[in-house]
Subunit: 362 residues, 2 copies
DNA sequence: TTGTACGCGTTATCAT
DNA sequence: ATGATAACGCGTACAA
């Protein structure tokens, strides 16, 4: 008789807790208590369960959030869903789900207006906490948000000052180890494709390069330092210029995956062989690097660990356990994965190895 | 004097529309009208703007949603954030944002319980619409949701029956074209790594293979058909078995990117050269394929177009314009991108080209 | 343990 | 155009 009708396209009102209470012939309060896991008389419990089933009832998370001042929702803001960020997002989303929380994600595309828009959006939706790459243009807003008591976690990129938690990787150290490896093998002409120096991450990775060079008694050749802004196309053309240099580099260090892609594209175009003609190493590890040629030496960010650490931090802050603790500054290590793309440079006196076919094309 | 105090860690209550009304010395209704873009006396407008600024007020999206029965939120459910899904998500999120809507995303990892959990979550959060890969185990729930008037869009995977919109790609056609290409070049021993036949997508891609084979007068050799479940590791070991066959295939068609990766890994391990020893083509296009060796021939799904089409469909449904229209069934084409991984098979009489070094290692 | 009634921050409906 | 007020669905004191 009272079957839900028609599906005529009109939006139907979902059942409410009142409907459940009426159907089960109990009071609203009783249903609420049942829903929140408190004790209820067994007979009533059965009635309520039956009613929920019958009415296809789902608690209205919005109304609940409004009452409890808790949305169980976390904002996630990144420039884009690169493999790195997507991987962190997927894992973080899983970890938070186990805490009963969900993620609201947003990409800002390195656009300042989008960053501010995202922050507006998040506060409008009353997220309980915020996970984001640090953005200088939003510093004031971030401070205000933190002051208002919303836990914030910076990840990937950093920004000194705001009293927020940080889950970062040792960009400088990993860079340093990577470039040191190139130098230890015998390279002296090591070029670097850097990210935007506006980014802490970009500065740190470059600094690792710089320190390694200096420690090996080398000077920084400005011709070998290209700020190609994390960008594949800029890296591609930048690499083209590097190859035209009278004394081209014998090794290349790319501060991220995209720029490595650009460089590899240029290598392919010019017939430059890795590692015979040039050695290459890159930040970030992606499937491509395991398979390309003899593999590309890379610094792998521990995405799972990053996500889990962020989730743990949020759990602590939101549970109130660590509400008043000073900001955390967690720095995770990257693994340097040695593959076949780095080789001792050949001396000017040595013949080109072009005549010897590689044992495998891969 | 009434400065917001301390930031002691305690959660602060955000300002409400009531606070704004009081500060601006106008009625709540006036503020609401202003916020929703209706006309307000200029003097009042200025007062309200000042108050909003002063109190750092943001509209509570939850309360608004509760009243208007519109959350301006769309659920997005996929198995995982692979490059394909991440790319669609990023673009879709952008397009929806321009409609004033946001995306709530969820990964189900091919786990039936997670799928149901996601659907619960979405209805609890009262999403206005749903975008998902079709999942058979959720059919009843999907029908119920659709019946209740929530627009649903299936994408990537399909499932016949439920009256929902569909934005899919021509999996069968793309497969057919791809395999036909392999056959046209002269291959007859073409192996296929298929996805799970539980998935429509898997069945369609296999069907394209089957049709192409039959049309070329070939029979399907069961030894050459491996269901490696979209999975890299299974593809890796499956490829190992294929290579051990007395008469191994001369060409391989992979129904997705992950399986191609697995196969390439096995090739690298066994020193199998592409395309000298075996030709390979794959569904999905990823950066790797452009760079690997002479490039890998691939079927590229139009992710941007998929996302934009979904966004358009949602806009129409949610605006009520097409509320009563019959379900849409949009099928987009894939581009077949020819690269260097496919080559005429050498005849038994021809010598192995092992002695001729490739012109470039790439 | 259960029932009642109020309030969360909006929007929308009324008079004015 | 504005002001007052009734909902929306839920949680929760408080009384029973």
């Amino acid at each position: 008789m009272d079957e839900e009708e028609s599906g005529s396209g009109a939006r139907q009102r979902p059942a409410t807790i009142v409907d459940v209470a009426e159907t089960a012939r109990v009071a609203i309060g009783t249903v609420s208590r049942y829903l929140n896991g408190q004790s209820v008389r067994p007979a009533n419990r059965d009635q309520i369960e039956a009613a929920i089933q019958r009415l296809n009832y789902r608690k209205n998370a919005l109304a609940a959030a409004m009452k409890s001042d808790l949305t169980n929702t976390v904002g996630f803001l990144v420039p884009r869903l690169s493999e790195f960020h997507a991987s962190v997002l997927e894992r973080l989303s899983l970890a938070l789900r186990q805490q009963g929380r969900a993620l609201l994600s947003y990409c800002h595309n390195d656009d300042a207006a989008s960053v501010m828009g995202a922050l507006e959006f998040f506060s409008s939706h009353r997220v309980d906490a915020l996970v984001m790459d640090a953005r200088p243009e939003a510093e004031e807003r971030i401070r205000a948000t933190a002051r208002a008591g919303t836990p914030i976690v910076f990840y990937d990129n950093n920004l000194a000052g705001p009293p927020v938690d940080r889950v970062l990787v040792d960009n400088r150290g990993a860079s340093h180890r990577m470039v040191s490896h190139l130098l230890d093998v015998g390279h002296t002409r090591v070029a670097v494709l850097t990210g935007n120096v506006q980014h802490w991450t970009g500065r740190e990775r470059f600094e690792g390069y710089r320190q390694a060079m200096l420690e090996h008694g080398l000077t920084i050749n400005p011709d070998y330092v290209l700020d190609t802004h994390w960008n594949e196309d800029e890296a591609y053309s930048g690499m083209g210029r590097l190859l035209m240099l009278p004394t081209p580099p014998t090794a290349l260090y790319c501060c991220n995956y995209n720029m490595a892609m650009g460089a590899l594209r240029m290598f392919a175009e010019r017939g430059v062989r890795v590692p015979e003609d040039i050695s290459i190493a890159s930040f970030d590890d992606v499937p491509l690097f395991a398979l390309y040629g003899g593999g590309i030496t890379a610094a792998a960010q521990p995405t799972a660990k990053i996500a889990d650490t962020i989730a743990g931090t949020l759990a602590a802050r939101l549970s109130g356990r660590s509400a008043l603790q000073p900001p955390l500054n967690i720095v995770l290590n990257c693994d340097i994965i040695l593959r076949g793309s780095v080789k001792r440079p050949r001396l000017a006196s040595e013949p080109s190895p072009a005549a010897q076919p590689p044992t495998s094309q891969l």
